[in-house]
Amino acid sequence: MAFFVRHKKPSSLKPIANPYPSRLQRWRHSLGLSFILIIIVGGLLRFYSPFYEVIQQRLFEVTAWVQGMAFQPFQETHALLKNTHTFMYLKEEYARLQKENETLRSQLQTLKALKHENGILRTNLKIPAFETYGHITARIISTPYDGLKHFFLIAAGHHESVGKDQAVIVPEGVVGRIEKVGEHIARVLLINDVSSRIPVMTSLSGQQAILAGDGSFSPTLVYVEDIRQIQKGEEVVTSGFGGIFPPGLPVGIVDNVVNGKITVKSYIPFQKLEWVHVLKPNFEDFHKDMSALLEEE
């Protein structure tokens, strides 16, 4: 019990008996003036939306910046340790990258042929071009979580041309979308958050649905066309409706179908993520393709 000795010693810790000696101080603290003023001013600010949104935006930037600064030393140390580890195993890393490069080169050759074939088929069938996407890679600063909202803070904002509602992905699949943007920081709403809704479709049965987050790591499919056709283990991809996510991005697989409730297991290892890609629609290329198609017609 030596652990609690500090609390048992009357001589060392002195809780103040009367912290507010004067009547004014007592009144100020005992929710006379302060509480009422704070409630009135806070209430007015809350319900005057133009002002509230500005305050909310500024506070988001300030708090994210403060948190980013607090985590900076830990992240730098982590990066340093990681770099040291990479440096120690440089030879193995070089061999791995060389092997990966060879595989990617061979895949690229196949993709070039497929792209050419796809282009010819599109022209023959007169299918309009899809939007093309570029991407920005951003580091995850932190994942504030208190059991309610699932989101990441990433080190990219207006300055890096990140905008609201842009899709956020990793090589394994869809992570979420940009919910709030600051100057150098943005908040990513994850697909498993309760307020996340993504239009998706199943790859085999072709059923369109909405992927709704429920706070767990297994979001559910709602508004499904025909539940009976959906099979366990089927892949779920984005359908492209809504204009935020391009079609065909992997989301997860159907994990369970019980009593009309379809749960989807995401491909993303949310706990291990360090970097994400923010998709930026490339409107110039899209307009060029569309103009070329219209000219041909």
Binding site: F3, S30, G42, L59, S142, D146
Partner: protein, 156 residues
């Protein structure tokens, strides 16, 4: 000198902010430590030195918390200010030299806070688990805070 004392007196406020910043990214077994984790320093200072954690600082802490965690601004501020309000009446009932009593007080206080918080922001099981983590971690953090308390008491 007054400025220096003012800075020292803001340490309790900064300690709560620090706990929020560090605690928001921590979880055990997939369940978060917040919000019960940051209630530990709030409760500690409200019991021992409420004059070092005045209403305006609780309001700022609440706004900071809501902004960081993406809640509606003002929810936590309101709950924290209510803690101070009820705290001033309940404080005389707690014997500060009797640790289990203070611990029991924290259990009840954090349960009340978490129930209200859960009702206001639609929380679930994770909040309950966070409450349990808070109870377990209270002695350890109170022990650390007592050192800060003693140091401040000697210098302010």
């Amino acid at each position: 000198m007054r400025f220096l004392f003012g800075c020292l007196r803001s340490f309790p406020f900064l300690s709560v902010l620090y706990v929020i910043i560090v605690g928001c990214s921590l979880n055990i077994g997939g369940h978060p430590l917040l919000p019960a984790f940051f209630l530990i320093p709030v409760f500690y200072w409200l019991v021992y030195r409420p004059d070092w954690l005045p209403l305006w600082s609780l309001c700022c802490i609440g706004i900071f918390y809501d902004s960081l965690l993406g809640n509606e601004l003002g929810v936590s501020s309101l709950l924290l200010m209510l803690s101070a309000y009820f705290g001033q009446y309940l404080r005389p009932l707690l014997n500060p030299y009797h640790f289990p009593l203070i611990w029991g007080g924290f259990i009840l206080y954090s349960l009340g806070y978490i129930i209200l918080y859960g009702c206001l922001v639609s929380g679930g099981l994770s909040l309950l688990v966070s409450w349990m983590y808070g109870i377990v971690l209270y002695p350890l953090m109170a022990w650390g805070l007592s050192y800060l308390h003693l140091w401040l008491q000697a210098n302010v």
